[in-house]
Amino acid sequence: MAAPAAAAAVNGEPAPGLGRGLRNNLLLSLLLVLLLVSAWNTGSDPLRLARGLPNLWVLAGEMLPPDPALLGTALAAMAETLQIALLGTFLGLLLSLPLALLASRNLYPRWVVVPVRGLLALVRTVPSLLWAVFFVIVVGLGPFPGVLATALYSLGYLGKLHYEAIEAMEPSAHEALAAMGATRLQVIRYVVLPQVAPHLVSQALFMFEYNVRASAILGFVGAGGIGFYIMGYLGQLQYNRVLTFLLVVLAAVLLIDWASLRIRDRFTLASTGSRQRR
């Protein structure tokens, strides 16, 4: 410890304080303790995993080969999942935009911002699967509660991401237009929305990608989509049929990720002249 400190002092840099090093060591020790306690409480035992590995081969043997007869059903179910994700993301985006504007400190006063942020936080706290259970109780089984659950979950997340983007916006154009006598709505229409549009599109596409994956399990609680079949065949231990559905999910997710990246890239390039980093 002394050598680097001495070297730093020779180079004219301030030697690292002992208190800071001690604090870092304490923090690292605390983190280590937390990890060990968590491993103990969750029964995370590498030996147990090693002992269970042969089961994986058994499961793989039962999953293979996938059942091609169910491909049509799997594609139709995946289409329903995509529709749940699409409609849910769209509704979430639509509802999140006005709320994000109201939650932006650079646009509205504190007495508006605080309750709207509270509402968004509340919506965000509940996972989409729990929202799905809630809406299955309210409107019954099928894809509709899935759409509602996806929309509400998207609303919470997109609302937060959008108001953060609005607040990070360069204030200059906003200030210039307000100084010319433009109304707040005009400022939103002509400055805020054009400036955050690439961000909105990008986040909405990310949300859609996420919602496709999340919607795939909404069927577990009766909220429609491909998850309904996966849950059913898992219950009947028909793993080769489960694999057919999982492969369709994998193909759809990869395709959507690829398409989404292309769209985001094109949109960002058109609106700002800079290509997104990958």
């Binding site: 210039a176 100084a179 010319m180 006598g181 109304t183 229409r189 002509y190 054009p194």
Partner: protein, 268 residues
């Protein structure tokens, strides 16, 4: 910093205004504070209508604060600010007043993802109804006025270019076009040529001066460069440490005076 003693080159009293009333901007013992800290301290000045007033001073002198006080973005904590005949200390209709004042901030305040024309069209917003403006229903005459403004600033070929595709000088011109579309009686511009090279800065200032004369508009600009202040101002107010330390005619802004005011012969 307020206690630094620099003898005013010419006090307002000893420096009669080149043109008589009416006055576009009048500040009387104006004080402006940020979080209780006075940034502008007891500044008095007047800009007669149709003239070019240059505010000159080093960084952190309170120039931008002074400019923002002139369109009501900031309110004086003490003193009186009267702009285009409206007393800002008591007026509640600031939007109405602001629609008569053009404002170009230091970084121009353009929306980069929109075209030159779309940015210029924003000059119409203060006079438009909320619904048509939100629906982007600009009348053909308004679009023609924006296109004309872009032609007048030499951007006729760049009307449909997005602002992020333009050079620094072209962006400056878009900001000027937006202000022209607004048809302001008073234009406030904050160091808007400071990022340009010498030639470009003079081209832009020549353009603004020509347009000011054509439109009989009052111009208040903040400048860093003494040369620009000398060549384009009718009256130069020097600010240092939040106080007005001098008010001079440009011809009196000789190197000796500059050295006495800034020490290094430059506003920087």
């Amino acid at each position: 910093m307020a206690s630094e003693s620099i003898t005013p080159v010419a006090s307002p009293a000893s420096c009669p205004t080149p043109l008589g009333p009416p006055v576009a901007v009048r500040l009387e013992d104006a004080w402006v504070s940020y979080d209780g800290t006075p940034v502008v301290q007891g500044v008095s000045l007047r800009a007669p209508r149709g003239t070019s007033l240059v505010i000159l001073g080093p960084s952190g002198a309170g120039k931008t604060t002074l400019l923002k006080t002139m369109n009501g973005i900031l309110r004086p904590t003490r003193g009186r600010v009267e702009v285009l005949g409206v007393d800002l200390s008591s007026s509640r209709d600031l939007r109405g007043l602001r629609s008569r004042i053009g404002y170009i901030p230091q970084d121009l305040g353009l929306v980069d993802s929109l075209t030159s024309l779309e940015n210029a069209l924003m000059g119409h917003l203060p006079r438009m109804g909320v619904v048509p403006s939100l629906l982007r229903r600009f009348a053909p005459v308004e679009v023609a006025a924006a296109e004309d403004a872009l032609h007048r600033v030499g951007l006729g070929e760049r009307v449909h270019r997005r602002v992020h595709q333009l050079s620094g000088g072209e962006r400056q011109r878009v900001a000027i076009a937006r202000a022209l579309v607004q048809r302001p009686e008073l234009l406030l511009a904050d160091e808007f040529v400071s990022d340009l090279d010498y030639v470009q800065a003079r081209e832009v200032m020549d353009l603004v001066t020509r347009l000011r004369r054509e439109m009989q508009m009052t111009l208040v600009t903040i400048q860093h460069e003494v040369d620009i202040a000398r060549d384009y101002g009718d009256l130069v107010v020097v600010i240092k440490g939040g106080r007005k330390v001098a008010e001079v005619y440009p011809r009196d802004l000789d190197p000796g005076v500059v050295t006495r005011l800034f020490g290094n012969g430059n506003g920087r």
